[in-house]
């Protein structure tokens, strides 16, 4: 899992970390502020932040974990762009498939099968 994109995906696989990232989109915050809403220790949140930091998703202004945590929006945007682009291509394919399937509805009702099956 050495490549950067994989680290980003791994970092965002955890719901708490996704939540942290979502909150950081509103602005920088200290570890204490970030940890406040969670029923886990500040240390646990620190660990999550470290994973995000190693993935390049967040940075800290100062050494020593005192400074505010900052979201590196560029990295985040790039990653979401890639995956969203991929998703949209899949969705475009599925829409073409929708259209083909819509035709099958008609094809599949040749005389020998009266449309009665749902009355039971």
């Amino acid at each position: 899992m050495s490549d950067p994109l994989s680290r980003v995906f791994a970092a965002l696989a955890d719901p708490t970390r996704r939540d942290l990232v979502a909150r950081l989109t509103e602005g920088d915050a200290t570890v204490g502020q970030l940890a406040a809403p969670y029923p886990v220790s500040v240390q646990a949140i620190s660990k999550h932040l470290k994973v995000l930091e190693q993935a390049g998703l967040v940075s800290r202004r100062t050494e020593g974990h005192r400074g505010p945590v900052h979201l590196e929006a560029e990295v985040f945007d790039l990653m979401t762009k890639w995956i969203e682009r991929y998703r949209r291509r899949a969705e475009a394919r599925f829409r073409r498939l929708d259209a083909v399937l819509a035709e099958l509805d008609d094809d599949e009702a040749p005389g020998h099968r009266p449309a009665r099956e749902e009355t039971a």
Binding site: L5, R85, A92, F94
Partner: protein, 174 residues
């Protein structure tokens, strides 16, 4: 089944090089299966848009193999693989882009009936490395895949797909 997935959802697994896509269709499992195994139907939707797909060979049964070529803006992209298992509820196949002949993904398609003529399709693509998986995620950015969207939506809205597909609306894009 109260949560209908009307537009594709995607997940890139962090622990194994897998991409998962889920999407619901207004069709029975049998119809969805047919659209994936009948060569004529498959060629009509596999795309991408504005791409003429030609099936070179296509033997959609357990142990069979397939190859198709997509022609897009004068370029050709060839893909091939084997049908490892073909069942009404499950299709397992390998997938290789011939330009990267050493790379192979294992694709598992699961067709789950949701009732009322709806079916959920789950596609899992297992790549042979994270690098390969992420290259797939990045791929296609240079192909201009978004250009065809407006045209496609137009066709769908007008119900014109029936008339034999893609090439008739070239003027709609950029």
């Amino acid at each position: 089944m109260n949560d209908t997935i009307t537009t594709a959802t995607i997940e890139a697994d962090p622990t194994v090089p897998i991409i998962r896509i889920t999407r619901d269709f207004a069709a029975t499992p049998a119809q969805l299966f047919r659209a994936h195994t009948d060569p004529e139907l498959f060629a009509r939707w596999v795309g991408p848009d504005r791409t003429a797909v030609t099936l070179d060979y296509w033997d959609a049964r357990t142990g069979g193999s397939w190859r198709y070529v997509g022609a897009h803006d004068g370029m050709e992209f060839a893909f091939r693989g084997c049908f490892h298992e073909v069942r009404p509820d499950r299709i397992v196949q390998t997938f290789t882009w011939e330009a990267e002949p050493d790379g192979v993904a294992l694709e598992t398609l699961l067709l789950e009936p949701l009732g009322e003529r709806r079916t959920r399709l789950r596609i899992q693509s297992l790549c042979d490395s994270f690098e390969a998986r992420d290259a797939w995620l990045r791929s296609g950015m240079e192909v201009g895949v978004d250009q065809g969207y407006a045209k496609l939506d137009g066709l769908l809205a007008a119900g014109q797909i029936a008339e034999g597909a893609g090439e008739s609306a070239d003027g709609a894009g950029a």
